[in-house]
């Protein structure tokens, strides 16, 4: 902006709104605001008029109607007599599940691939390049569909496990069943469990919290806390006497013994999946749709993350590595103490947008029939009730909230690791 010379003292004239830089910005802003409000008003009035012509009303009353459809993959109990709101809630949790799982695996795969692309093994580096280019340059929708098709076509159906000489057998000593309907893994059961706390009574948002889990977390947290105390004591002793007491067996004992005692007291055992009737029963069932979506989203996003990680590592000048070895640091510590902290600064901001993209791409779940929020609220509920306006707007609001929360959290983290410059 150009700076002003000494403003002349004169009376306010209307033309000054346009010609005087002091007022012009205000004029432009007021015009912009009015324009925006007019646009908003125009859209709202159109909508009202259109809805009237169609004889529709806007309202969220349909949320308390029974949904009448079933959802297979769910974290909380739900059946077809529950409300549409409950269905949307179940869907929201499913979205969060796949987003969180996807972000974790995408990061792991992405970092591995990014490092391997710089490997001095020519073949490995080329394979990783091919992987990255293949995934980055084909639409994620195709990958999701592919992943689902590969799972369905290549894994055995449950009926292959049946009979005297089954074509397929369960893995890991008969505890895990990998089928084309999903993976059945053992579930945690407590024969003398403490029961659940029921939150939110019978409302649509009700959910149960397992007291066993809480007890376990408390004990385990206590163990960790005690371990740190012991470690601090060992360090203090070392400072004082020069000898570090041997503590690893104490640490190990602290880590496992209290939890083991608690689990024993609660009667902990694993529930194994078993082939009964049409399907495996017992155990935890990870549906194919979840696995396919999870796999495709992680592999797709990991290809982008790999590039970011590679660029981040390459961005650190060679002098840093040399300086670190001059100080006598070994390669592992060089990576951990010198390279990564600096690379992280370059890596984190684009990483945030990739996590956001993964979360948003999880809305493609409908392609494989995973019942996320788009599949419930924006899918079957919208279809059955015909409330497009309410459902779509609410859907956008939900995603907006998720996105803004993720970027808020990640930005906070970014600000923490960011080097303070000058």
């Amino acid at each position: 902006m150009t700076t002003l010379t000494d403003p002349p003292k004169e009376h306010f004239r209307l033309s000054m709104l346009l010609y005087d830089t002091r007022y012009r910005s205000a004029t432009i802003q007021v015009i912009a605001l009015i324009g925006f409000m007019l646009l908003a008003a125009w859209i709202i009035s159109n909508t009202i008029q259109n809805l009237e012509t169609l004889g529709r009303t806007v309202g969220f009353g349909f949320f308390s109607e029974p949904s009448s459809y079933d959802i297979n993959q769910r974290l909380l109990e739900y059946d077809s007599r529950d409300t549409h709101l409950r269905a949307a809630f179940i869907g929201l949790l499913n979205t969060l599940v796949v987003a969180v799982l996807g972000c974790i695996t995408a990061t792991i795969i992405g970092v591995m691939v990014g490092v391997l692309r710089l490997s001095n093994n020519w073949l490995i580096a080329r394979i990783m390049t091919v992987y990255v280019e293949m995934f980055r340059n084909v639409p994620v929708l195709l990958w999701i569909v592919f992943a689902m098709a590969i799972l369905i076509e290549s894994l055995p159906a449950p009926r292959a496990f049946r009979g005297e000489n089954p074509e397929a057998t369960m893995d890991l000593f008969g505890t895990v069943a990998v089928t084309n309907r999903g993976v059945y893994i053992p579930e945690f059961l407590f024969s003398r469990g403490l029961g659940d706390i029921h939150l939110f009574g019978t409302s649509s948002l009700r959910f149960d919290v397992s007291l066993d889990l809480i007890a376990f977390l408390i004990v385990f947290g206590g163990s960790i806390f005690a371990m740190r105390k012991v470690s601090a004591w060992a360090s203090a002793t070392q400072e004082k006497t020069g000898d570090r007491p041997t503590i690893w067996y104490i640490q190990l004992g602290l880590l496992f013994v209290p939890s083991a005692i608690l689990l024993g007291a609660l009667g902990f055992h694993l529930g194994y999946p078993e082939l009964k009737g049409f399907n495996f029963t017992g155990g935890t069932h990870l549906r194919n749709s979840l696995i396919a979506l999870w796999l495709a989203l992680s592999l797709y996003t990991a290809a982008f993350i790999a590039e970011i990680v590679r660029a981040g590592i390459l961005a650190i000048s060679k002098g840093q590595t040399e300086a670190a070895s001059a100080l006598g640091l070994r390669p592992g510590r060089t990576m951990r103490l010198v390279i990564l902290p600096q690379a992280l600064r370059v890596i984190i901001p684009p990483m945030i947008s990739n996590y956001l993209n993964l979360t948003k791409n999880s809305s493609l779940a409908i392609a494989v029939g995973y019942m996320d929020i788009t599949g419930t609220l924006g899918g079957i509920t919208m279809n059955q009730t015909g409330r497009e306006l309410e459902c779509v707007l609410l859907l956008m609001l939900v995603y907006l909230t998720i996105s803004l929360s993720i970027s808020a959290v990640m930005n906070w983290y970014n600000n923490r690791v960011k080097l303070v410059e000058r």
Binding site: M1, T2, L18, Y19, S25, I28, Q29, V30, A32, L33, F36, I43, N46, T47, Q49, N50, L51, T53, N120, N121, W122, L123, I124, I127, E133, M134, R136, N137, V138, P139, V140, L141, L142, V145, F146, A149, L356, K360, N361, S363, L364, I366, A367, T374, G378, E388, L389, V392, L395, M396, Y399, L400, S403, L404
Partner: protein, 451 residues
């Protein structure tokens, strides 16, 4: 005993390095088997590559091309190899590749009844002349932007392209696009003639207002009037006939092309000191970036008609184009903001010190540089948008993926799966990969060109 010690007086000739260090062997040793870990990794990778390639290649090449239905394919497979699995049935691609590329776009728009296999008797343009020409012109028009060693005169094609594209694709009278173009000329003339008379501000307002008035109220009727006197036009094609891979390209190009100016305005707005303008821009950008594209497409297919005046009704492809444009504008704004942020502060200060006002500084100093830096980002946004166009299949448009549903609903091809998706995957890969290579080349070039 003689006291003779051996002293070499001349250098030994250099020996050839050991065979294990040079040539193919040396290369293999260094790059594949430099350590035990690497050796194991290499062997695992080789086994993996063999496994993947042996399956895929057998499927791809031991395949059936000449079949008119899946059951025919299976019969041929049974007769040739004795089983029906592990062989591709490319007959479906042979039968439907034109549809996958062009959707339902008529091959000969002048003769609506003619088809690819049944061309009009004589004369006329080659099949799919219009989309093909549009695509070639697209390449010609972006060449001067993307490559420096292309004749600058081609920029005229670039300037004309925004009017050529709709005319060639949708057809109809040429006067419509010409009258829209005339709007810009009116704006320019208004600015030029009013400037000396009434000052720059009035000139700018007029330059903005006159074209808008012209487009809103006059251009349509003038175009009709001229057309009734001098009818020049080509057969119109409805946008709902657009489909296939062509639709993906068209949606991508339109979204990126239209969103570029919007993105610039939004990016400037976001950088601006004007608080309300800034918050409006930030709100818009963050809103669009915070929701998945699929919800915006739901808006296009379900709600946009509700938001517009009663009776307004334009078809789904236009509505999708609008939403895709808004979507890409938000991303474009961020890319350009990155370009603006990458400019050294001195450029702004230099512009100020020359006494340029805000718009002059933007036009002459800031934007040319910022846009140049942003081109790689714009290309990758384009790749993203282009891949995202596949989502329109979810709202029922017949892009390539949508067409697979239609094709598989034909009883002849019911049950075909991998062939179609492999074809689509390869199409997308070829286009996106070449664009991303270009963007990388450009990045390397710009690294030396800047600062």
């Amino acid at each position: 005993m003689s006291d003779v010690s051996f002293v070499r007086t001349e250098m030994l000739p250099e020996k050839a390095p050991p065979a294990s260090e040079v040539g193919v062997l040396g290369w293999i040793r260094h790059n594949l088997f430099s350590s035990w870990l690497n050796a194991i990794l290499t062997i695992i990778s080789l086994i993996f590559i063999y496994y993947v390639l042996s399956n895929i290649l057998a499927w791809t090449f031991e395949s059936v091309w000449n079949a008119n239905s899946l059951s025919e394919c299976r019969e041929i497979m049974m007769a040739t190899w004795g089983d029906t699995h592990g062989h591709a049935c490319w007959g479906v691609i042979k039968d439907r590749w034109l549809q996958l590329l062009y959707g339902f776009y008529p091959p000969y728009p002048v003769d609506p009844d003619a088809t690819w296999s049944n061309p009009p008797e004589a004369g006329g343009w080659p099949a799919y002349f219009r989309p093909n020409l549009t695509f070639i012109l697209l390449l010609v028009s972006i060449a001067p932007v993307l490559f420096t060693n292309v004749p600058r005169k081609l920029l005229f094609v670039t300037a004309a392209y925004p009017f050529l594209l709709p005319w060639l694709m949708w057809g109809g009278s040429i006067w419509g696009p010409l009258m829209v173009a005339a709007g810009f000329a009116i704006g320019y003339l208004a600015y030029k003639f009013v400037l000396p008379v009434a000052g720059s501000l009035t000139a700018m307002i007029l330059a903005a207002a006159l074209p808008i008035l012209w487009w809103l109220f006059a251009s349509g009727s003038v175009a009709d009037a001229i057309n009734s006197v001098i009818p020049i036009g080509i057969a119109p094609v409805e946008s709902r006939d657009f489909g296939g891979f062509m639709l993906a390209i068209l949606l991508g190009v339109v979204a990126i092309g239209v969103s570029l100016p919007i993105g610039i305005v939004l990016a400037l707005g976001r950088q601006s000191d004007l608080m309300i303008v800034k918050y409006l821009c930030v709100g818009f950008i963050e809103f669009i970036r915070g929701v998945p594209l699929i919800t915006l497409l739901f808006v296009a297919s379900l709600l946009l008609n509700l938001f517009l005046p009663p009776g307004t009704n334009f078809d789904i492809i236009l509505r999708v184009m609008i939403m895709m444009t808004l979507f890409s504008a938000a991303y474009m704004a961020e890319v350009i903001r990155g370009g603006l942020a990458a400019l050294p502060r001195g450029q702004y200060e230099g512009a100020d010190s020359l006494g340029l006002n805000y718009w002059q500084a933007q036009r002459l100093i800031i934007m040319p540089q910022a846009l140049k830096i942003s081109i790689p980002g714009i290309v990758s946004t384009f790749i993203g948008i282009f891949k995202d166009t596949t989502l329109v299949s979810i709202i029922g448009l017949f892009d390539v993926i949508g067409l697979t549903n239609g094709i598989r609903a034909d009883t002849a091809w019911n049950g075909v799966y991998w062939e179609l998706f492999a074809f689509i995957g390869v199409l997308f890969f070829v286009v996106c990969f070449s664009m991303s290579r270009y963007s990388m080349y450009l990045e390397r070039k710009l690294q030396t060109g800047h600062r």
